[in-house]
């Protein structure tokens, strides 16, 4: 990458390269200007994304400095502790369940909502509003509201189950139901967000396709299965990646509603990291746990990259 400046990205009729490169940015100056413009953002990104990621890796091989005793290299000790830590395994298992319980459901609902709101249903403006509003609220506010709903006996959920003859139930205080309760909150909050992306994609599908299908006399379900859904595939992938990231990134509701309890039944990985690092102040172990999270996200990035790569090859 030397000499001529200006990336040759503009499609269409480009005049010969040298001709359209303005004198000022030709040669070495393009490098200087480019780097100068990028520098402020690059410094901050490096300081708060790349450096901490590397520092996490390094710190996971040290002990936590405590009361005058400095951190010392401990090799793989932190990792050994982690592999023997039942709470770590529990948090990983919970996070996997949580992802499986929330992602497919919110994506399916999002798609359904988008199809409805994009269709001919009466009052779709109001419907779109109802679906999307939870997205705008802070998760912490949402969690507060739902905490109230889940209150034993007094809350909305118990009021409704009482109509069907059920007794009071401590939804968030019982091991079997607490995580499921959190899942409902997440689905309620996220489906409307993902709906927006599907809606955007649906509006890009040319209406000609639907007209052609109508002339052919193909049914609606058939049309969805063979035309709409495949065309929405890139959107589904985009939404899926975002949903997975969110499943590991968002623990605000855990902080408000359960604090990981009862008996670690709602312990998610990031919340455990938060507890270890900022409640027990064991930052080295916190870093070790963060490495697991980083590995999961790196795997996700790799998977996405490979998928896109393959798709490009097949074209």
């Amino acid at each position: 990458m030397s000499g001529a400046a200006a990336p040759a990205t503009t499609p269409g009729s480009a005049p010969p390269r040298a001709g359209r490169v303005p004198a000022r940015t030709r040669g070495g100056t393009a490098h200087i200007y480019g780097w100068l413009l990028l520098l402020p953002a690059a410094v901050l990104l490096g300081a708060f994304t790349h450096f901490p990621a590397v520092a996490t890796f390094v710190e996971s091989f040290y002990s936590t400095a405590k009361g005058g005793r400095p951190a010392r290299a401990v090799g793989l000790d932190n990792y050994r502790t982690m592999l023997e830590d039942p709470i770590f395994w529990k948090s990983l298992e919970n996070n996997a369940l949580y992802a499986l319980g929330t992602i497919p459901a919110s994506i399916a609902l999002a798609l359904l909502m988008a199809l409805w709101v994009n269709g001919k249903i009466r009052g779709r403006g109001l419907l779109r509003l109802a679906y999307f509003t939870p997205t705008v609220l802070p998760m912490i506010a949402v969690a507060n509201i739902w905490l109230f709903f889940y209150t034993p006996d007094y809350g909305l959920v118990d009021q409704i189950t009482k109509l069907f003859g059920a007794g009071a139930h401590n939804w968030l205080g019982t091991r079997g139901t607490a995580l499921v309760c959190l899942m409902f909150v997440t689905i309620w909050k996220e489906a409307g967000f993902f709906m927006i992306f599907y809606l955007a994609a649906l509006q890009q599908i040319p209406p000609v396709l639907a007209e052609a299908a109508a002339i052919e006399g193909s049914g609606r379900w058939y049309f969805f299965r063979r035309v709409t859904f495949p065309l929405l595939m890139p959107t589904t992938l985009f939404v899926l990646v975002n949903a997975i990231i969110n499943a590991f990134r968002m623990v605000d509701h855990v902080v408000v509603m359960t604090r990981g309890g009862p008996d670690n039944a709602t312990m998610l990985l990031l919340f455990y990291i938060y507890e270890v690092a900022f409640k027990f102040w064991d930052t080295a172990y916190g870093a070790t746990l963060t490495m697991v999270l980083l590995l999961i996200l790196a795997g996700l990035a790799l998977g996405q990259f490979l998928y896109f790569d393959r798709r490009v090859h097949y074209r």
Binding site: A5, A6, T10, R20, T25, Y33, G34, W35, L37, L38, P40, A41, A42, L44, L45, A47, F48, H50, P52, A55, T56, E59, M113, V117, G119, K120, L127, L129, F132, T133, P134, V136, L137, P138, M139, A141, N144, I145, Y154, Q159, I196, A200, A201, Q203, P207, A210, A213, G217, G219, R220, F238, D252, V255, V256, L270, F278, T283, L297, A298, A301
Partner: protein, 280 residues
């Protein structure tokens, strides 16, 4: 559009459409219920918190009590400063970086762009342990700058603006240069105005994200003068109030209020912005 979309219904007919409408409305009702119920609770006395009676008298007392019980005015100010400073920094930094990526062929550009994209996957939200350490080295815990700094360079903003800037016709760029425009003048007079819808979209997404952000502010702040509303609300709800749900719900609505009202007023822009931000 709607005319064409009606046709594929052919097979299922009117009854199917009716059933679907019912389903859509049922789901809409389920989705709206929690918020509506919260609004009901907040505007009625505690004795009606779990009882729906149409004749129950409306009251603003819960809001008054909540407002008096915690320094919410200060929390709002903190959130406002936080959100505006993050957005201002993001806009400037992303614009400069995106311009570099879109129009300059400098050494290492592709590698740098790949490194920028890393932040889309590994966000500051999960690097809390090490970022806290960095903040302590910079003496920034318990400051508003400390909350905002990790977010001020946004890969998302750089990515969105780079795509937009790449679409600016070269002829415009060259015409401005021929007229003797400086580089920054070119950016300001040609590129930025053409990207206005993208700026609005990014701005709305950024403001709602940072107004709602919770975990990192919870970790890094420790006093009334720095806490944003989300953290203020959690402190208020967990310690001061016990279980008076009417007041907690009023406080909850209050903290989401500005964003919620803005959303209801500019619904179309919000939805379109989120859409625009999602299309890559």
């Amino acid at each position: 559009m709607s005319g064409a979309a009606a046709n594929p219904l052919g097979g299922s007919g009117r009854l199917g459409l009716l059933l679907e409408s019912a389903g859509a409305w049922l789901l809409g009702l389920i989705w709206a219920a929690p918020l509506l119920y919260a609004i009901w609770t907040a505007f009625h006395g505690a004795e009606f918190a779990a009882r729906l009676q149409l004749a129950a008298p409306l009251t603003l007392e819960n809001f008054v009590k909540a407002w008096d019980a915690a320094p919410f005015a200060r929390y709002f100010l903190n959130s406002f400063i936080l959100v505006t400073s993050i957005l201002a920094a993001q806009l400037v930094l992303s614009t400069l970086a995106a311009f570099a990526f879109a129009r300059f062929a400098f050494v290492g550009r592709d590698v740098m762009f790949a490194l920028v994209l890393v932040q889309l996957m590994i966000m500051p939200d999960i690097l809390i342990v090490e970022n806290y350490r960095t903040m302590r080295a910079l003496a920034l815990p318990d400051t508003i700058l400390g909350i905002g700094l990790p977010y001020m360079a946004s890969a998302f903003g750089i990515f969105l603006l780079r795509q937009t800037f790449k679409g600016v016709p070269r002829e415009l760029d060259e015409a401005a240069r021929v007229e003797g425009c400086t580089l920054l003048g070119l950016l300001w007079k040609v590129y930025v105005p053409l990207a206005k819808p993208v700026y609005i979209a990014f701005g709305l997404v950024s403001v709602s994200f940072h107004w709602n952000n919770f975990l990192w502010p919870l970790i890094i702040t420790n006093s009334v003068t720095t806490r944003p509303v989300t953290v203020g609300l959690s402190v208020f709800a967990s310690t001061d109030q016990g279980i008076d749900w009417s007041i907690i719900t009023a406080a909850t609505l209050m903290t989401s209020g500005p964003l919620l009202i803005a959303f209801l007023l500019f619904q179309r822009q919000f939805v379109q912005s989120f859409m625009r931000a999602g299309i890559r």
